[in-house]
């Protein structure tokens, strides 16, 4: 069985842990409070790796699987941290019909990770996103604040873009 663990080592700080415990204290006796706890935990850590989910599981007395089930159900939660460079591939209608699915696949293959994941060195992460309002440039991606449009998805093009970072 392939474990769905994050490749980047966990580097939580004591300060982050304290913030998380404060959040849990606040919600401990509130029924159905798992969602806000998970949301605030993601605010604190930026993502929800097994280390964070286990802390929540132990403190709130909820099975780890229940937490993992919720985290993987809602797209707002992430199991991986964002990379230093966040590649967002627009899958809005215009980009999609112009082949954005293939572009996303190309970047994933090139970096050896899946959408939602981060490279083991923490440099790049890929996520699919909805319309970013640049339909005239479709298909379009963003890397942090840089926009790349009218892509054709060739190997050279993808290499050229990634080489800039």
């Amino acid at each position: 069985m392939a474990l769905k663990m994050c490749a980047v080592p966990f580097a939580g700080t004591a300060q982050q842990q304290k913030s998380l415990m404060d959040v849990i204290d606040k919600y401990k006796d509130v029924p159905g409070a798992l969602m806000p706890v998970l949301q605030e935990a993601q605010e604190i850590y930026g993502y929800l790796p097994i280390e964070v989910q286990s802390m929540i599981s132990d403190e709130m007395n909820v099975p780890l699987e229940k937490i993992y089930g919720i985290v993987t159900f809602y797209s707002q939660f992430s199991l991986s941290p964002k990379g230093k460079y966040k590649i967002a591939v627009c899958l809005g209608t215009a980009c999609y019909v112009k082949g954005a699915g293939d572009i996303s696949k190309k970047f994933q293959d090139k970096l050896g990770i899946k959408a939602g994941d981060v490279t083991p060195d923490g440099k790049f992460s890929i996520e699919d996103c909805r319309c970013i309002g640049a339909c005239g440039l479709a298909p379009v991606i963003m890397i942090n604040d840089d926009v790349y449009g009218r892509l054709n998805g060739t190997d050279e093009e993808v290499n050229e873009i990634l080489a800039k970072y």
Binding site: A2, M5, S57, P63, L64, E65, K66, Y68, T72, F73
Partner: protein
């Protein structure tokens, strides 16, 4: 009460009942798949949909409750639209289902297969679309998960949560949803207690016990080996169901005969081990009471409960009786006392157990359980289901078998031992012997302690024995055990002796028993029906109904163990426990 019409027939229905319940009261069966009464009521699978006149969409009968606003409504349970919808639902499930029914362990006992037949699914590949990739999880010692046969009904998830374990659940969403552990961890890395209740509720072949029958066949076919077998009390209460007997029919004699026909050299009865357990456990209890030992003492027969205690309530470990389970005791005596008596090298014995339980497969591997560290107490443990398959495979006509006998010693048990298979049974058996020990009354002492019988999750009673009041509690199902333990820990409840069984209703409803489809189990109390078989065998026992009167037990103490709690008994029949730190 409101008045409604089902399939044109006028019915009156109590408000708050579901359409399914009202239909059933009126003799109309509505098929279900994900619905498990009191356990999984989520209306997810859409097999039970019915038409309600005036409503746009079909409604799920299992969760749609009738209210006063439904007065006069007309419900159709078999209309063309309903039948077509159910059929299409099944076809969609089949589009992402491994359809190798011929070689599936659940063939002929698969709810998906049965529904496809009943609802006339004539084309199993109507939708030929994407298929989820999945890997088999065979990491644990007791079971397999093959998600290519999973239909995501969530019955296993609900059963696991009901056991206060919850190590499996639905991961991801939509088409990609899969039932697995957190982070797709192998089951063996989680705090799964191996009770097997998930297997019992799985409608398909997605979950099954680890099949160890090949090892048994190999042993039986090896002329050098002496192959002995023991059968747990609850097995005889359910085995008959695999061969068409009504639920609750005891098949003790046929089972013993079938085992002999399969080629086992000696057929023993775990009942002997159960009587021995009572001797040791009653002795341990009295020692604890007299010497200010840790109380309450808690039984240790159920390996699922032991795993649960080690992982979830480690602070209660000193309360656990140090007695090995009847399976392990029987095995230990087989390879020590019996091997010596028969002049057989223990290394040449293959000791097989037939259990209503999958956790017993795990129990074989427990540390401190192997006799003197040189051999396993029991070598192979198979479930009631595996035995049924072996009998079928060997071409033995079970229904026509005469009643066979067990071998002696180690093959005879008292009425007290036979009730070990039902919740409260160990407690009642222990009380029968404790009363004798404390009062010396024998002939006329109380035999039946009915307060601890029955399927209630938690039962308590106080008995005046000798000069003291003994308070006892019994819990079955780990959710109930948790509730009881919380009360004991908080001091709210003061008890001397507790019996806990991992499975609801005790071993009769164990994770290795014959699987009963939801269409039956939703309307029949399996626990009560099978328990009846055991209590009838207890009443019919002509030798004795008290463990200390067992001739086999007396013989083994006289010739080998000396007395309960002796040094030798401790060496061979007792064990220890250790907290585990697994992912909960």
């Amino acid at each position: 009460m409101i008045n409604i019409k089902i399939n044109g027939k006028e019915c009156s229905a109590a408000e708050g009942l579901t359409i399914l319940e009202v239909a059933r009261e009126n003799g109309i069966n509505i098929p279900t798949l994900c619905w498990l009464k009191d356990i999984n009521e989520i209306g997810a699978c859409r097999i039970c949909v019915v038409e309600m006149k005036g409503w746009k969409a079909l409604v799920p009968a299992c969760v749609r409750r009738l209210s006063k606003f439904d007065e006069g409504v007309e419900i159709l349970t078999q209309s063309p639209a309903v039948l077509e919808s159910r059929k299409m639902t099944l076809q969609l499930m089949l589009s992402d289902h491994d359809k190798k029914c011929l070689s599936c362990v659940r063939s002929f006992n698969c709810e998906l297969q049965t529904l496809c037949k009943e609802l006339g699914v004539d084309n199993a590949v109507r939708f030929d679309g994407a298929v989820n990739a999945s890997e088999i999880d065979d990491s644990s010692l007791h079971m397999y998960r093959d998600n290519s046969k999973c239909i995501s009904c969530r019955r296993c998830v609900a059963a696991c949560e009901k056991q206060d374990v919850g190590v499996i659940g639905a991961n991801d969403r939509g088409f990609k949803t899969s039932i697995a552990c957190a982070f797709d961890m192998p089951l063996a890395n989680t705090s799964c207690v191996s009770c097997g209740q998930c297997i019992n509720v799985c409608p398909t072949g997605a979950l099954s016990e680890k099949d160890d029958t090949k090892e048994v066949w190999d042993a039986l076919n090896d002329p050098e080996k002496v192959v002995v077998v023991q059968t747990a009390p609850a097995v005889r209460a359910a085995l008959g169901e695999a061969f068409g007997f009504a639920m609750g029919t005891p098949v003790e004699g046929k089972m013993a005969e079938a085992l002999r026909k399969l080629g086992f050299n000696y057929v023993f009865d775990t009942n002997f081990g159960a009587d021995l357990t009572i001797m040791e456990e009653a002795n341990e209890l009295l020692e604890r009471v007299q010497n200010n030992g840790v109380l309450p003492m808690i039984t240790s027969c159920s390996p699922g409960w032991i795993r649960y205690c080690e992982a979830y309530h480690p602070e209660m470990l000193p309360n656990l009786s140090s007695c090995k389970s009847p399976q392990q005791m029987n095995g230990a005596i087989t390879k020590t006392y019996w091997a010596g008596k028969m002049n057989i090298d223990p290394a040449n014995i293959v000791s097989v157990s037939v259990m209503p339980c999958v956790a017993k497969k795990f129990e074989l591997s427990r540390r401190g359980q192997s006799g003197q560290g040189t051999f396993n107490d029991v070598d192979i443990s198979i479930t009631t289901r595996e035995l049924a398959r072996m009998i079928e495979k060997a071409g033995i006509r079970f229904v026509d078998l005469p009643d066979g006998e067990f071998d002696s010693p180690l093959g005879n048990g008292t009425g007290a031992a036979i009730i070990f298979g039902a919740t409260g049974g160990v407690m009642e058996a222990a009380l029968r012997t404790a009363v004798w020990k404390l009062t010396g009354e024998d002939v006329n002492s109380t035999i039946e302690f009915k307060e601890v019988r029955g399927v209630d999750g938690v039962k308590t009673a106080t008995y005046n024995v000798g000069n003291m009041d003994v308070t006892v509690a019994v819990a079955s199902g780990l959710g109930n055990a948790k509730a009881l333990l919380e009360k004991v820990k908080s001091g709210e409840m003061k008890v001397h002796f507790i019996e806990i069984m991992a499975c609801p209703g005790g071993c009769v409803n164990g994770g290795g028993q014959i699987i009963v489809p939801s269409s039956v189990r939703n309307f029949t109390d399996i626990r009560a029906e099978r328990a009846k078989a055991l209590y009838s065998l207890d009443e019919a026992n002509t030798v004795s109904r008290k463990s200390h009167e067992s001739p086999d037990v007396k013989q083994v103490y006289a010739e080998f163990l000396e007395k309960p709690g002796s040094h030798k008994a401790h060496e061979i029949l007792h064990t220890n426990y250790k907290a585990t730190n697994l992912r909960k």
